[in-house]
């Protein structure tokens, strides 16, 4: 009993015989001073038991009073029901009939990707240039056995996703930079509680309200600042409407596999542009993960929580999370390599700027310059393993971004962790405020690099 007494004193008040007094010795397990029982006068009236608010505090013994701690089973027998170990109900792949490619807006392609990946729960808050995704979901989900809710803010959105994901369901949202800022608190909780969910951030110009034109400056927040604590999430960077669909499907795969949110970093241009999109060969019919708080007998033992008050427990939890991050770093690095095999001049770019960079590389190749485009598809984990092999040939790296340098930061951090301490010279083209780097700028920059070298 002493370990469970919180010294509230209620039993002292309750006892008509004055058997109970406040203790003076501190109980090491709790830091409280448990009450002392002197049962000479005790009439076994039981008033102190009723008074005690502690579930394992004062309670009657069968034969005589004692102050030993009891296993509740001694009094109440073994628990009458025990939750069985939950088993995973796996997803199913259902074949899709072959269709002609569709012509879709990037945001619409992503929404369709989510539906094909088995997402039937959409929570979101309007923000340009992402809203078309939500609007399509509002139209389609009521006809697809799903639910669309316009939350009252991105804070509400991410917490709806936290709840829905906690039940093992696939949920998603579309947002843009200022809205994503509001989601990071919730994302930290989701990462801590290991809850899946997919957020598509159609990045726009910042800081503050900025404007609604495309920018990539959020890469810093997405890769290094997903809320407080030890947080990371896979960050996927599409550069075509087709990839908006494919990477959204991949995002659902990853989010369920790792029980960790996944972010799609698109940009305002990509969200709005239309392109041909081929639907996949199969769609996903989701199962129920074993860990889900699903609300039936089998899942009753599950708990979704990010609190670990005990330091050892929290350290162990972080070690477990870090192991997941390590696994992501080992197995999820992705990049698209365009003319990279023999490239002496590597352009590093993602999202829409990668489209201009691709044009520039083609132009340089025509002029006989060995240029190549290294396009990270995962920004976190940065696909450094794919890059390192290209470095011996490279005479220079040009990072092209519509942002103030966060992609270059990711590249430099990755190089440093890969122990590449003297990479080829890194230069950059940075435009921001909604202005995209143009093909000609990239060609000019590459040409002057080549000239200087030769």
């Amino acid at each position: 009993m002493p370990q469970f007494c919180k010294a509230c004193g209620r039993c002292i008040e309750a006892c008509p015989k004055g058997c109970i007094t406040m203790g003076t010795e501190i109980e090491p397990a709790t830091g409280f001073t448990p009450v002392i029982l002197n049962l000479d006068e005790c009439t076994a009236c039981g008033l102190c038991f009723s008074a005690c608010p502690e579930p394992y505090g004062l309670q009657p013994t069968i034969n005589e009073f004692e102050t030993e701690l009891f296993d509740p089973a001694t009094h109440f027998g073994p628990r009458t029901t025990s939750a069985p170990t939950p088993v995973e109900i796996p997803d199913q792949q259902v074949p899709l009939p072959e269709l002609e490619p569709l012509v879709l807006k990037g945001n619409h392609a992503s929404a369709i990707g989510a539906l094909l990946a088995g997402c039937r729960h959409f929570f979101g808050y309007p923000i340009t240039p992402s809203t078309e995704g939500a609007e399509l979901m509002a139209k389609l989900l009521p006809q697809l056995d799903g639910v669309f809710v316009q939350a009252v803010s991105e804070v509400a959105t991410i917490n709806m996703m936290y709840g829905c994901g906690g039940a093992g369901q696939r949920s998603m949202s579309f947002t843009s930079s200022p809205g994503f800022s509001l989601m990071v608190e919730g994302l930290s909780y989701m990462i801590g509680a290991e809850v899946p969910g997919v957020v598509v951030n159609v990045m726009r110009g910042g800081p503050g309200l900025g404007n609604i034109a495309p920018e990539q400056s959020d890469i810093k927040m997405l890769c290094r600042g997903l809320g407080h604590g030890n947080t990371h999430a896979p960050v996927l960077a599409p550069s075509t409407p087709q990839e908006m669909l494919d990477l959204t499907m991949l995002a659902f795969d990853l989010t369920m596999k790792y029980r960790n949110p996944v972010v799609i970093a698109a940009d305002g241009f990509l969200g709005q542009m239309t392109g041909r999109v081929q639907l996949p060969k199969t769609l996903v019919e989701p199962g129920i993960p074993a860990w889900a708080v699903w609300g039936d007998e089998m899942h009753r033992g599950n708990l979704i929580s990010s609190i670990y008050l005990n330091e050892q427990d929290l350290e162990a939890h972080n070690i477990h999370i870090n192991e997941k991050y390590e696994r992501m770093i080992d197995s999820e690095q992705r990049a698209d390599l365009f003319f990279c095999d023999d490239a002496e001049w590597l352009v590093v770019a993602c999202n829409t700027p990668a489209r201009m960079a691709k044009g520039a590389v083609e132009e340089m190749r025509k002029a006989g310059v060995k240029a190549g485009l290294f396009r990270p598809i995962t920004l976190w984990p940065f696909p450094i393993d794919l890059l390192v092999g290209l470095l011996p040939n490279a005479k220079g790296i040009l990072v092209v971004e519509a942002g103030t340098g966060p992609l270059e930061d990711e590249l430099r951090i990755a190089l440093s962790y890969a122990d590449v301490h003297s990479p080829p010279p890194i230069t950059n083209i940075r435009r921001f405020g909604g202005i995209l780097p143009q093909q000609q700028e990239i060609v000019d920059s590459l040409s002057s690099l080549v000239e200087v070298k030769s």
């Binding site: 009521p142 316009q150 009252v152 803010s153 200022p178 503050g208 309200l209």
Partner: protein, 298 residues
């Protein structure tokens, strides 16, 4: 207008609201026949008529079409974060208690994402005048559902019609503690101007809802015609009932709109309560903050 065309540019008379507008930023972004401009005009007129020192007036907006109001006023103007105009204004008022702090913003901004701030500022009775432009929709982002969208009205995120219960804003404000609560439409320009003028003279959390047409989105999505037909609708369907029980002020889709002044009482403001409380508890030790906002090194 016909008079103006006969004048040369230098003969143009200055518009009566011009001293209060940042003319260099005009033309504004609002669509033809949008109701927001009317609110700006009424606010400007009310300010001038009230005789307040214009150097001591500030206007704060959140984000949205309505949120652009602050940017056009030649006053101490602030463009805050989406939904946060009220906490921003709270900070401003506490930083500079002598200012008349006005919040002019949209329905989505003030009672959607900002709903929590709205009720708490009313509860605390923070000294500010809140003019909420209710166009029943999220205008700026292209016509999504708002917490004010009437049942069955269409929006881009309720393409099959809205089924969520909307807020009754005067009731929300009154039950949260606002001591001054009124509702007008963009048709009632005189009464709206008088209401703003009157509210300027009151203290505490003063709330005026202005029902405004959004011809581009709300009216178009709901086939309600032009901005002009919206005005005709207000003309035929607005009912003035001063002192009406705020519980009876729901607005149905294309149904009557009850207007008037519903609450006008006195309640100590946040700062008055603070002064009274600490004076009682701390006695001589209490140092009240001056109207200029605490210690300033001149």
């Amino acid at each position: 207008m016909s008079v103006a065309t006969e004048q040369t540019a230098s003969e143009f008379q200055e518009h009566p609201s011009a001293p209060l507008l940042r003319m260099e930023r005009i033309p504004h972004v609002w669509c033809p026949s949008c109701g927001i401009g009317t609110v700006v005009k009424c606010y400007a007129t009310a300010l001038e008529r009230s005789g307040v020192d214009l150097d001591k007036v500030s206007v704060v907006s959140g984000i949205g079409c309505s949120g652009r109001v602050a940017g056009y006023m030649k006053l101490d103007a602030f463009h805050a974060t989406h939904g946060r105009a009220i906490p921003f204004a709270t900070g401003l008022k506490l930083g500079r208690p002598e200012l008349l702090v006005t919040v002019i913003s949209g329905d989505g901004d003030l009672v959607g994402i900002g709903g929590n701030h709205f009720i708490h500022a009313a509860r605390r009775n923070i000294d500010m005048l809140v003019i909420l432009i209710n166009n029943f929709i999220y205008g700026m982002t292209g016509g999504q559902n708002a917490p004010t969208t009437p049942i069955s009205a269409k929006s881009s995120t309720m393409p099959f019609g809205n089924f969520e219960e909307p807020f009754n804003l005067p009731h929300l404000a009154a039950s949260s503690g606002a001591p001054y609560v009124a509702r007008w439409t963009c048709l009632h320009i005189r009464r709206l101007t008088w209401a703003i003028e009157e509210a300027i003279q009151r203290k505490g959390f003063r709330f005026i809802e202005v029902v405004a047409p959004c011809p581009t989105l709300y009216a178009r999505l709901n086939k309600l015609g032009t901005g002009l037909s919206e005005m005709r609708f207000y003309h035929d369907n607005a009912e003035i009932q001063h002192g009406c029980d705020t519980r009876d002020l729901d607005i149905g889709f294309h149904e009557k709109i009850v207007c008037g002044k519903f609450v006008d009482e006195e309640r100590p403001t946040f700062l008055e309560r603070k002064d009274e409380h600490y004076a009682k508890i701390l006695g001589d030790k209490y140092i009240p903050m001056g109207p200029e906002g605490g210690m300033i090194h001149e």
